[in-house]
């Protein structure tokens, strides 16, 4: 039997291929627009994006937004409950003061909000001096008591009489950046190792894959605990901060490496790369013009998804007292105060930093998820 194929079929597919080739230039530029367009359709991702911007703005303007500094405290007001802001249309904002009663058995003070006292508070008030962005000296705070000596605890106070709101705002900076710095380091490690693995293949690939598997198969938290407990006690806060980010990165790079490697492998075989090569584009051109753009969107997605993991890790470590430590304030450090139920039942507001963690992690996860879906505008 002679098998004769309907040739129109092959003809049209070749023509279609040629068309893809000519479209390639436009495709690179259009890629980002498509990703953005697709991303915008993802409602949750947009909500996440707005939240994420908000949180990073808070981190950026922490000194201005927080009524007090991290180390300001008033030991008269340990575990003072949150106050409500009242609006008096004539005189502006105020909160009520406290009256304290000393427990006869434990000698611990308990606070009641005293409706008869009025503490005037205001916007853009003068308060402690600070340097905005570490450069511009200033003393204005978005909100604060008109008389700096008066107690204002909008989210309550901790064991030492620190203002939780202020510390929460300052903690945002550390918590949100430790993820970024850790991810940046993980990214470099991941791109190098994943790229090498995916590019060379063969034995190199096998070895690197084994290393990745090794890191993924050991339980991270005990290892972090071990490593961070081994940090010398005399190290200062900055050294500790840096060491913790390194520890986080050492664990976190594996995901990144897998993504990079996987993309490298699959892109090598993808249609438009092949057609670009058939078009006569040189190898570096193939990589930079065609592979990288479709690659970065995936990378950004997985970066966005790794930051929350790092935030959670830092929070857990600090919560246990093995991560960052007090003068440095992160959400995890704040949660150290919430270790046991007895404390929580007198001061449930100490769990609020946990809420901040959840919101931040959710926001970043939504954004990452939206990006991941949008990174493949041609799929589905």
């Amino acid at each position: 039997m002679t098998t004769v194929l309907l040739d129109a079929d092959t003809t049209s597919s070749v023509e279609a291929g040629a068309e893809t080739g000519t479209k390639n230039g436009r495709r690179t530029a259009k890629q980002w627009r498509l990703v953005w367009w697709k991303f915008r359709q993802h409602k949750l991702a947009m909500v996440g994006l707005v939240l994420m911007f908000g949180i990073y703005l808070v981190a950026l303007f922490a000194e201005f937004l927080a009524p007090f500094g991290t180390s300001t405290f008033n030991s008269e007001y340990t575990y003072a409950p949150p106050q409500r802001i009242h609006v008096d249309w004539g005189e502006g904002l105020y909160v009520h003061g406290y009256t304290s009663t000393i427990d006869e058995e434990t000698f611990e003070p308990t606070f009641e909000v005293d409706e008869s006292q009025r503490i005037e508070i205001g916007l853009f008030v003068k308060g402690e001096e600070y340097e905005l962005f570490g450069l511009i000296p200033w003393d204005r705070h978005l909100i604060g008591p008109e008389d700096p000596g008066q107690p204002m605890y909008l989210l309550g106070a901790d064991r030492n009489g620190h203002d939780l709101l202020s510390r929460l705002i300052h903690g945002t900076r550390i918590s949100m950046t430790i993820g970024l710095v850790g991810v940046a380091m993980a990214l470099v490690l991941g791109i190098i190792l994943g790229g090498v693995s995916g590019y060379f293949g063969g034995r190199t690939d096998t070895v690197i894959q084994r290393i990745v598997e090794f890191f993924m198969s050991i339980p991270g938290i005990p290892l972090w605990m071990g490593l961070s407990a081994a940090l010398p006690h005399e190290w200062g806060p900055m050294q500790r901060y840096f060491a913790i980010t390194v520890i986080l990165a050492v664990i976190g790079w594996t995901d990144m490496a897998r993504v990079v490697r996987g993309r490298f492998l699959s892109l090598r075989n993808e249609e438009f790369v092949t057609s670009a090569r058939l078009d006569g584009s040189g190898r570096p051109r193939v990589i930079y013009r065609h592979m990288l753009p479709s690659f970065t969107s995936h990378l950004i997605a997985s970066v966005t998804l790794s930051i929350p993991a790092m935030i959670l890790a830092e929070t857990s470590l600090s919560f246990l007292g093995l991560g960052l430590q007090d003068p440095v304030v992160s959400w995890g450090v704040l949660l150290q105060d919430a270790q046991n139920v007895r404390v929580l039942s007198t001061a449930p507001w100490l769990m609020l930093p946990g809420v901040a963690v959840i919101v931040a992690v959710l926001a970043l996860n939504f954004v990452g998820d939206g990006l991941r879906d949008a990174a493949d505008p041609y799929k589905r």
Binding site: M1, T3, V4, L5, L6, D7, A8, D9, S12
Partner: protein, 344 residues
């Protein structure tokens, strides 16, 4: 002899996909018939809606797709005809038809078998689904079916997995599964496309033998005109979701009426006489069904297209005989004269 009622009669079937990007009219007014005991071949380029037509028959259209209108009459001997287009895809009756009365063989034999179960498991499942047999009886029948499908050492093969067999063997297994309950119609959707040439020929031979043996009808979908010449009794030529020409196999090959059929035949490489001559190809691309041209869907690629007619009005359906028809204005006397007037 007057033609008996056909076994399967599809009339004016429309199956559309309602995607987010818009409606894809994958099948848009297909009519065809499959007489008893005959082989009907459906030919056309990729994407013209052959598979969707076949899947519509068994209610297997994928998610955003739906049969929008049309009828699919299924006439079993001695029973009331049923309109399969009206049956719910999940209904009990449709499930009885699937595999029991109409079987289907697909393009990718390997992927059509689950790698988690043995050949025997899947074959026995199909048998017991439709026939009241015990496990042992079903197993015996399974062995017999495999043997009939030309699989050596059938007994052993029952316990094999799909990934242990070659593509050709897998397709034989799929054919055996299709024959599990002695169906009246076998729909084969490009069953040989994924196979190498010698295997293709063997599978075609097998299907022809099995048809002769059982007397079932076959609806054979392909884009390989060589296969059509080999096995077809009747041919249906599709273009962009519509049937452009129908006829007996000889009529189609020796007296093609539609310019598209003509072009298809012209693109076959011929041995001998014409060899060495450049292949005639159809100019332009197949448009995507979502942006179908107005008027005759083929007019932008048609050498004989008449401006002001073909790109404006739908082509008429010209019937030459019971199983012979064409959708082209060139064969319509009324239109042709009016077209001549336009030109003049």
């Amino acid at each position: 002899m007057p033609r008996e009622d056909p076994l399967l009669e599809i009339s004016d079937l429309r199956t559309h996909f309602f995607t987010r990007e818009g409606t894809v009219r994958a099948v848009d007014g297909v009519s065809l018939t499959v007489p008893r005991g005959k082989t009907v071949c459906v030919v056309g380029e990729s994407g013209c809606g052959k598979s969707v037509t076949a899947r519509s028959v068994l209610g297997l259209v994928d998610e955003p797709g739906r049969i929008v209108s049309g009828e699919i009459w299924w006439r079993r001997r001695g029973q009331e005809p049923v309109n399969l287009a009206q049956l719910g895809p999940r209904s009990e009756e449709m499930r009885r038809v699937r595999g029991g009365e109409i079987s289907m063989v697909f393009q990718e034999p390997m992927a059509s078998l689950s790698p988690m179960y043995t050949i025997g498991d899947q074959l026995v499942e199909a048998i017991r689904m439709h026939l009241p047999l015990t496990q042992e009886q079903a197993r015996e029948r399974a062995t017999d079916l495999l043997r009939r499908a030309g699989i050596p050492r059938a007994e052993e093969r029952l316990d094999a997995y799909s990934f242990q067999l070659s593509g050709g063997m897998c397709q034989r297994v799929m054919i055996a599964i299709a024959l599990a309950a002695d169906p009246a119609l076998l729909i084969a959707d490009e069953p040989t496309t994924a196979l190498d040439v010698t295997t293709q020929a063997r599978i075609i031979d097998l299907l022809r033998d099995l048809q002769a043996e059982t007397g079932m009808s076959v609806l054979f979908i392909t884009h390989d005109l060589g296969v059509v010449a080999e096995i077809a009794d009747e041919v249906v030529v599709m273009y962009l979701g519509t049937v452009v020409e129908r006829g007996g196999v000889d009529e189609i090959f020796h007296d093609p009426k539609h310019p598209y059929t003509n072009a298809l035949l012209g693109s076959i490489p011929r041995m001998g006489a014409g060899a060495g001559r450049r292949l005639a190809t159809i100019r332009g691309n197949v448009p995507h069904p979502s942006d179908r041209p107005a008027g005759c869907p083929f007019h932008p690629r048609c050498d004989a297209a008449i401006g002001g007619v073909c790109d404006v009005s739908d082509p008429p359906h010209i019937v030459f005989g019971e199983a012979r028809s064409v959708r082209c204005v060139l064969h319509d006397d009324v239109h042709r004269s009016s077209a001549a007037e336009v030109r003049a």
